[in-house]
Symmetry: C2
Subunit: 272 residues, 2 copies
């Protein structure tokens, strides 16, 4: 067992920077010829894992699409996660959880404890209640050698008002979060930090005043339909730390039979 | 069927402003003599509902404590929600969900659609990606006469850096969210808005520059252990709109046999 940061660095070096989304939204299920049911979610997830294994560094299930089917949907996700554990793929649960105190600790225990059926390698979290509100989750991640990706600067245009707001240090909200996460990684003194940032592929880190830390991984959604260009990955995020390019629709839209060629092409682009 | 805002106004007028938390965290389960299991979560939730029915306006399950047990925990929550539907109690799922696009729509469909097993009266949401990122959830809430409470200014001290940051309008982040929510309620032109704000009982709305809108309900946690005084509810939030006082530990800590007296005392205090 090694830390998430070390596992992520190895996976992006040995395989690719690609992180394939598992986003079974109703429209995609129809495109795939699947029903809108928990059983279809399971089938969809298992198919993506099989196609991504050995090619991508990671998969990223979007928890909302499983939660949409209640406990039966979450049960399907548990099966998908179990299958991913049997592959080399890292799993990033895209849940954007956030809260304080014992509540946020409970989210951490749901996703980051080995005995949980929802156990994953890393979880996306939201710091709207302050980076410090996530302290207990940072501890849990360290304890179990798991990772977190904290929402920082996202691609959707409505996000700017809050993420570009100025805090009492004169930084933007996004830059404040980025600095606090970098400090946490420095304090943990690992060769590569296990707490990353979610940075949209369509944003300019300079506009947000974000300093890319050499020890802080990046999870970058927003390629394809949202406007980011995969071939620009390295110029968008000039950091020696691992950068995961998260692709969902632009791969999943090819349907079950088109997944492997679409993944291969994305891997070639991102590795060029 | 009437809008959530109208149902909330009636419940706080006819019963009380009290909203009892359903927070089965491990320490409380021990205090109650229960195991740390999905079956215990179910039992805990059903007991709180029975005690709160006819006394409180609402109950507020903290979803994190159910998610901590994976799909089996969510299954227990579905049973608790079904029992609440058989009572007059309004149910506010405290999930603090947030995302964009089809993902946030999926969260809305999970909690606000009548055919979902997780169907509730209202959901707490996070606007870290902008109030506008929640647009699809606002539409779903209107469509199904459900409500939302958007995190605005919370009680935990680490929250201030972000929530007090200054946006490009010169307002704080919290005030920006409060204004945008008030505008949504005005646009929906209901007698009482169905989109509320989460405002911690320990914060000073003036410090955040928040204007309390007469058409925007408030969900106020942070009483008891966190420092807010229940007897101050009306002076803390001087608005004609419904204000729900959310109490969890200070009631649940009395154990299953002490719930009814603790709820009665809180109702008396909040109604004095």
């Amino acid at each position: 067992m090694t830390t998430f940061g070390a596992r992520l660095a190895a996976a992006t070096r040995d395989r690719s920077a690609l992180c394939v989304g598992i986003d079974p939204h109703p429209h995609l299920l129809r495109t795939w010829g699947l029903a809108d049911s928990p059983e279809a979610l399971r089938s969809f997830g298992l198919t993506v894992i099989e196609a991504a294994a050995g090619r991508a560094a990671a998969v990223k299930p979007q928890v909302a699409f499983f939660e949409r089917h209640g406990s039966a949907g979450l049960r399907a996700l548990e099966d998908v996660l179990a299958a991913a554990r049997g592959s080399e793929l890292l799993v990033v649960a895209d849940a954007k959880r956030g809260d304080v105190g014992t509540s946020v600790a409970a989210y951490g225990e749901a996703w980051l404890r080995p005995e949980s059926p929802l156990f994953v390698d890393a979880l996306t979290v939201s710091a709207f209640q302050g980076t410090g509100s996530l302290a207990r989750v940072f501890e849990l991640a360290n304890e179990h050698e798991r990772g977190l990706f904290v929402l920082c600067a996202t691609s959707n245009p409505e996000a700017a008002a809050i993420q570009l707001a100025t805090t009492d240090t004169g930084e933007t909200v996004a830059a404040t979060i980025a600095r606090e996460v970098a400090e946490l990684n420095r304090a943990a003194s690992m060769s590569m930090g296990s707490i990353g940032l979610v940075l949209g592929a369509t944003i300019e880190v300079r506009d947000f005043g974000i300093h890319l830390d050499s020890n802080t991984p990046v999870l970058a959604p927003g390629f394809g339909a949202q406007g980011g260009r995969l071939e620009d990955l390295r110029t968008l995020f000039p950091t020696p730390a691992p950068v995961l390019a998260a692709l969902s629709r632009s791969i999943l839209g090819h349907g079950p039979d088109g997944l492997v060629p679409a993944i291969d092409e994305a891997v070639a682009t991102v590795s060029a």
